[in-house]
Symmetry: C2
Subunit: 443 residues, 2 copies
């Protein structure tokens, strides 16, 4: 009689989930992958989608394409509703699934720290559609500014507030600065685009907190040189559609608030009946598993684990190494073998600031900045982008932008509905003289 294969469920196909599946496939296990989306997302480049540099399809890759050669892995596009640890069962919106091993790798969502008005009005960058919405918005406020005669409103439309001086905030601010100064200036000759402002707000006293002071300083000066107004020790407490409220009681008139001030574990963590730690993360043991349930693993941004007294950071490297480790741990258990506790090996971190400018803090303490760091960033990101075609298309976009100071993808894809039937004015007709002045176009 055939022995039933052990069932492994992997929830989430981000950087961690992909590694788990790669490690488990072909090992005599029955692997089911769950994801709400049908694609893997290369999150570190979302800011480039938001700033019209690369197209959205360059950062997304079909999960079924990734799994195509893995005949022992099944994909289910679904969402998890709850997890029954006792009966080893996951309840999805499509019904229950039993498991012998469960790997949770659903990543993180933006943390607005309970600031409801900010959550309501701010843009963030966690999902593909976030990036497209932000791109549409940035281009739309420029189109609105081009039609606006009230100087104050026009300047508020051209003012962008970036909250959070971590890698995402720095990379977005740098890329946005280049978009406005090199591209939109030429696209909107009717606007005084030098009035465009990018204001970066950071609650701490420095940018890129985990980087060495030398690279923090370089980043600050480079951003300032690119026209970004950096305000350290500045906290945001609220927002409206056209303003950002600061803790000191002052206000910035702006129609665009980009929030990159923190993340918390994906809501999937709430489906686990265990106590969470800071940011809703799930504390895990030495094997990245739950305390009383060694068959349940949590990796990446969802997990909380300290190493040498410091919490592991929420970066792709931790998720990827965690994924590799969990696959090995499951295989070892099946063979009745022991495996050493998980140890994160920090290969270094980097952030790109602009054209030929980046900072990199590599393993062994080597610090790079400027052009060399930027080249390293370029090579690494091309290497990690899944799929030949994505690499080529993305490289082509980068080259196009680099040599022509251009942005190809500056499309507003949130199309207004077509008016059907005879035009109806919902409000009273505008005062023609007033709107004529407003448009500066009637002769």
């Amino acid at each position: 009689m055939e022995v039933a294969m052990k069932k492994v469920i992997v929830v989430g196909m981000g950087f961690g989930g992909v590694r788990v599946v790669n490690g488990l496939s072909g090992k005599g296990l029955d692997v089911t992958v769950l994801d709400r989306r049908n694609f893997h997302l290369f999150q570190p480049l979302l800011y480039q989608v938001a700033t019209a540099m690369i197209d959205q399809d360059s950062v997304a890759y079909s999960i079924r394409a990734i799994l195509r050669k893995r005949k022992d892995v099944r994909f289910l596009m679904s969402s998890v509703q709850s997890i029954d640890l006792t009966n080893k069962r996951v309840l999805t919106i499509d019904g229950p699934l039993d498991y012998d091993y469960l790997v949770l790798a659903a990543g993180s969502v933006t943390n607005f720290f309970g600031l409801d008005s900010v959550q309501q009005h701010a843009f963030d960058l966690k999902q593909l559609n976030d990036a497209v919405s932000l791109r549409n918005h940035i281009l739309s406020v420029y189109e609105r500014a081009a039609k606006e005669t009230d100087t104050k409103v026009r300047e508020a439309l051209m003012t962008f507030v970036v909250v959070g001086g971590g890698p995402t905030g720095v990379e977005f601010a740098g890329s946005l600065s280049e978009l406005t100064h090199h591209v939109l200036t030429k696209d909107f000759p009717e606007l005084h685009t030098e009035k465009s402002r990018i204001i970066m707000l950071e609650a701490m006293d420095r940018l890129l907190a985990p980087f060495p002071p030398e690279l923090q300083q370089y980043t600050l000066h480079k951003l300032q040189k690119m026209g970004v107004e950096v305000r350290l020790n500045t906290a945001v407490v609220g927002a409206t559609p056209d303003s950002v409220q600061l803790k000191d009681g002052s206000e910035i008139a702006s129609h665009t608030l980009f929030w990159a001030a923190g993340v918390k574990a994906a809501p999937l963590a709430d489906a686990l009946p265990v106590e969470k730690t800071r940011g809703g993360r799930v504390p895990v043991e030495a094997e990245l598993s739950l305390k009383d349930h060694p068959e349940v693993f949590v990796i990446g941004d969802m997990a909380y684990r300290e190493q040498d007294g410091v919490a592991l950071p929420g970066v792709a490297q931790v998720a990827m190494q965690g994924g590799d480790y969990v696959a090995k741990a499951i295989i070892a258990r099946e063979r009745g073998q022991q495996i050493a506790p998980f140890r994160y090996f920090n290969k270094g971190s980097m952030a790109v600031i602009g054209r030929h400018s980046a900072v990199a803090n590599t393993l062994g303490g080597l610090k790079l900045k400027g052009f060399l760091a930027w080249l390293a960033w370029l090579g690494l990101h091309l290497f990690y982008l899944i799929g030949f075609r994505n690499r080529v298309v993305t490289l082509l976009n980068w080259a196009y932008e680099y040599f022509r100071y251009n942005r190809q993808v500056r499309l507003i894809t949130s199309e207004p509905p077509l008016q059907e039937g005879p035009p109806v004015q919902e409000n009273a007709p505008p005062d023609e003289a007033e709107t004529a002045e407003k448009l500066r176009l009637v002769g």
Copy 2:
């Protein structure tokens, strides 16, 4: 004293509008371009976006990028509410604009011929987001089919109905057939994808009505060989989310109805206080202008004009030649010169059916079919795609698909919202035994 420049307003930056602006720029006129979108759309390739062959950004090109070198042309992203022919004034949602010459080139929308249930449930392909929605839907019904155990429902999810045997219907059906047979078959090993059906319904007794019978026959046989069930003399009268009702009283179980059975003039035509003709089109005189208002031109799909007793077709060539002509007509008038009436020169038409297979009816009566016609199609479309980068990226996608029988862009980008907070079940919990059976995954 300086003489005020004559004001020209061009509404719509499709194939016609772009040509008008190209012809008028640099001629001492004050040109304002209005469009609801900020991009020019290469509509003939929308079906390839819908079938995951090329990315959406390959068929759209920033209007401000097109206009960048034309300092005498202004762009206004806006919509027209009404037109005051007497006072030569256009009322936009952003206020009124005066003109000396007005060119209306807003194209067409899908004609559902008053079939409300069809309009509600069918997909069409006129706007960029239509193509993305259709792509998301095609991939989503497959994902749903992969989770469905009811054979009838599963087969209905994998059945696609294409209404209209014109070029759009033929090209979409051919491309969809290749997507399902070469790509989705491999992506969904758990599905019997041979059960997937594509049914083409055409109310007339032949496909590609304006083509010579020889090419119509070739197209019919080629589609049938590709697995498309073609039903001629078949009309649709209604639809629900999971069925299509035919005139003979029968019904097809299908979750996807694609409608390419006709177009009508864009709603902008309703803003013109003149009598319309078939399909809401605006009758124009020999100079493509309104009868009593020679300063108002209508071109492309919005206009109705007969030549040698036959109505000009709603194709890109007519719009482009009309645009060139109107620019010349306006310049001639300004110089007090006469211009000969507009004459459309038919350079030929083509439709691609599948890999190395197309039909082309060229000027001089030369008929091409098969590989040679396909090569001609490839060259022409690359030539007409605006912008170097779009050409390269599109070619790359085509080459990738051609050599690897693959589709890169098979992403479902309509993401479900993240559940926030503890999971809440809106309905009663599903019967576990039933859903377990439904999923075929619980052991």
